[in-house]
Structures are given as structure tokens and as C-alpha cells.
């Protein structure tokens, strides 16, 4: 069975590394990464990941903006986007969902919570 491809988007190398390690607990994920929203949009079009895990606060293009662009593009609109942010307040969560994201996780990331979410979206 082909491995599922996940696009990790975060400008923080520490965050990307932690997420990589969490995903490595499940060996059947192929991980690709981007460091801001603009690159995320490009990689989504080019690599067609099965899921995107994206930080919100990033330079050049925020995760919210990138999510909107990805969801408006027919070629990428079907990719589930999980937004990752430090802000857990209701207004921020609503803004996240308004951008078209499928789910919303707050930092610091909890391994089990993230893996459960991946299983739910990737069907494993």
C-alpha cells in the first residue's frame, strides 16, 4: 500500500522537528515540509499531499490565508487541512474554520491527539 503523504508547514524548525518525530511513530507516512504559507500552497499543488498540517502564524503568508487559497483551488480543495496554532480561544478557532480548515489543534502538540486526528483523516 502506498504511504500517505503529509505536508508539514511551520516556520519554526523546532516545531517541524517535533512533528516529524511524532509522525515517525507511524512509519507509513511520507513527510514533506514547507516553511510558510506561500510555499505550502505551491507544494500542495505540486505534491498533492493526503493531508496538510499547518501553523497559522508564519511569514510571507499565514496559515489562514494559505488554507483559503488551497480550499479555493479545485486541484487542492479536497486535501484536509489541520491548522496548528498557539491560540486556543473560541474566536481564533472560528476564524480557523472559516478559512476552510478541517480541524484545529493547539500547541504544544500532544502526540496522541495528533496521531488520533491523522488516523481519523487518513483512515488508518
Amino acid at each position: 500500500m502506498a504511504s500517505k503523504k503529509i505536508l508539514l508547514v511551520d516556520d519554526s524548525c523546532t516545531a517541524r522537528l517535533v512533528n516529524r518525530m511524532i509522525f515517525s511513530q507511524k512509519s507509513n507516512y511520507e513527510l514533506i515540509s514547507a516553511v510558510d504559507g506561500k510555499e505550502a500552497v505551491e507544494r500542495a499543488r505540486l505534491d498533492k499531499p493526503d493531508l496538510i498540517l499547518m501553523d497559522i502564524m508564519m511569514p510571507r503568508m499565514t496559515g489562514l490565508e494559505a488554507c483559503r487559497v488551497i480550499k479555493q483551488d479545485k486541484a487542492t480543495s479536497g486535501i484536509p487541512v489541520i491548522l496548528l496554532t498557539t491560540r486556543g480561544e473560541e474566536s481564533y478557532v472560528q476564524e480557523g474554520y472559516a478559512s476552510g480548515c478541517s480541524d484545529y489543534l493547539t500547541k504544544p502538540v500532544n502526540d496522541a491527539e495528533l496521531l488520533d486526528l491523522l488516523r481519523a483523516y487518513l483512515g488508518e
Partner: protein, 209 residues
């Protein structure tokens, strides 16, 4: 991750309830004790694994930052992404002249920074004793009014020399307080954050004599 507040008593109760509801045989108290111990050991291993992952990411972040010359931002990333603190400041400490110099901050108003640049009780105790000071471990009478929102004054100590402090002002709303993993990460920063900051200062002095 299962928090430390869920003790083995809860686990034992859960096991017993599960076994009863599934119609399986009821375990003896000795079997229950062994299973609870096994689960407790598993929890500890998972907790340590969780910490190891984060220590690895923190080390890698600091090493990369040393190459790029931005250690303060790397410390900020550790605080924000791993500990869940986005209101923090780093002050360098000049031991010879006994004063603090603001080096980096995030989410802290200038007015507050100016106030803390003079040094406060928790900051002076941290550099004086060489020990990190936590707000909830201070006698109420030792706290200054401006320190009400200060969670911790983390001492940065390299080869016994105090080079500064990291002040933590506020945790993210989804965090109820510092947890075991956070304390371990702060211990890591006490030493290796300090070393990295000192190395970066040396590198900068070397290129600008």
C-alpha cells in the same frame, strides 16, 4: 498523554470496571496491582519518550541557531512551541556591573520590559542563588507587585557563571500551568541555552573586534 494527576488508583479502578463490564473474570487484587504497575511503567516510559523527543528538537533548534546566529529566537521557539509560553523575555546579566540588559522578548509590552530591566526580586534571587525561581514557590511577602504575572525567572548558567535570565510571563490559554516536561525543558535551557547564548556572544565579539 496521560497526565501525572491520573494515578494508579484511577487506573486500577478503570481496569476493574472494564473487566466487569466486559463480562470477563474479575481480577484478583494481586493481578490488579501488577497490571496497574505495568500501566504505570508504560506511562512513565511514554512520558520520558515524549520528553526525549522535545529535548532532541530543542537541541537541534539551538545548534542550528548557533550556525545562523539567532540563539534568542531559537530559545523563543522552544518556549512557544514546546512549553507553550509566548510572553517571555531574555535579559543578559552583567556580573561585573551587576545589571541586566534586555536581549530579546516576545509578547511583553515595552513598559514591562523597562521595569524588569532594573531587576526585580525574583530576578536578583535567581542570579544571586544561581537557582531558577518560580512564582508559585515564592513566599507571598517576597513578591513585588510587578511580579504578579511573572511565572518564572529561569537562571541561565554556563560553567557556574550566571549569564542571564529568561522571564516567563504568560502561558498559552490552553495551558493550566507548567508540567513535568516543561520543568525538564527549562532545566535544559538553564544550561544549554546559557552556553549557546555565551557562544553566540563570543562569535559576535570575534567578528566585530
Amino acid at each position: 498523554m496521560i497526565g501525572p494527576e491520573n494515578g494508579s488508583r484511577t487506573l486500577r479502578k478503570n481496569i476493574a470496571e472494564r473487566d466487569c463490564t466486559n463480562g470477563e473474570r474479575i481480577l484478583s487484587s494481586e493481578e490488579l496491582r501488577i497490571r496497574a504497575q505495568q500501566l504505570s511503567l508504560r506511562e512513565q516510559l511514554e512520558r520520558n519518550h515524549f520528553l526525549l523527543e522535545r529535548l532532541y528538537a530543542a537541541s537541534a533548534g539551538i545548534i542550528q541557531a548557533l550556525a545562523e546566529g539567532d540563539v534568542h529566537a531559537a530559545v523563543g521557539e522552544i518556549l512557544g512551541n514546546l512549553i507553550g509560553c509566548e510572553e517571555a523575555a531574555i535579559f543578559h546579566y552583567d556580573q561585573a556591573n551587576r545589571h541586566f540588559v534586555h536581549a530579546w522578548s516576545v509578547g511583553v509590552p515595552d513598559e514591562t520590559l523597562q521595569h524588569f530591566s532594573k531587576g526585580t526580586g525574583m530576578m536578583w534571587r535567581a542570579v544571586g542563588e544561581g537557582v531558577t525561581q518560580f512564582h508559585d514557590r515564592q513566599p507571598e511577602s517576597h513578591l513585588q507587585p510587578c511580579e504578579q504575572n511573572l511565572i518564572a525567572s529561569v537562571v541561565l548558567k554556563s560553567s557556574r557563571e550566571v549569564v542571564g535570565v529568561i522571564l516567563l510571563f504568560g502561558l498559552l490559554p490552553q495551558k493550566n500551568g507548567l508540567e513535568w516536561v516543561d520543568y525538564q525543558l527549562l532545566k535544559f535551557l538553564e544550561t544549554y541555552g546559557a552556553v549557546a547564548i555565551q557562544l553566540q556572544c563570543l562569535q559576535k565579539n570575534a567578528v566585530t573586534p
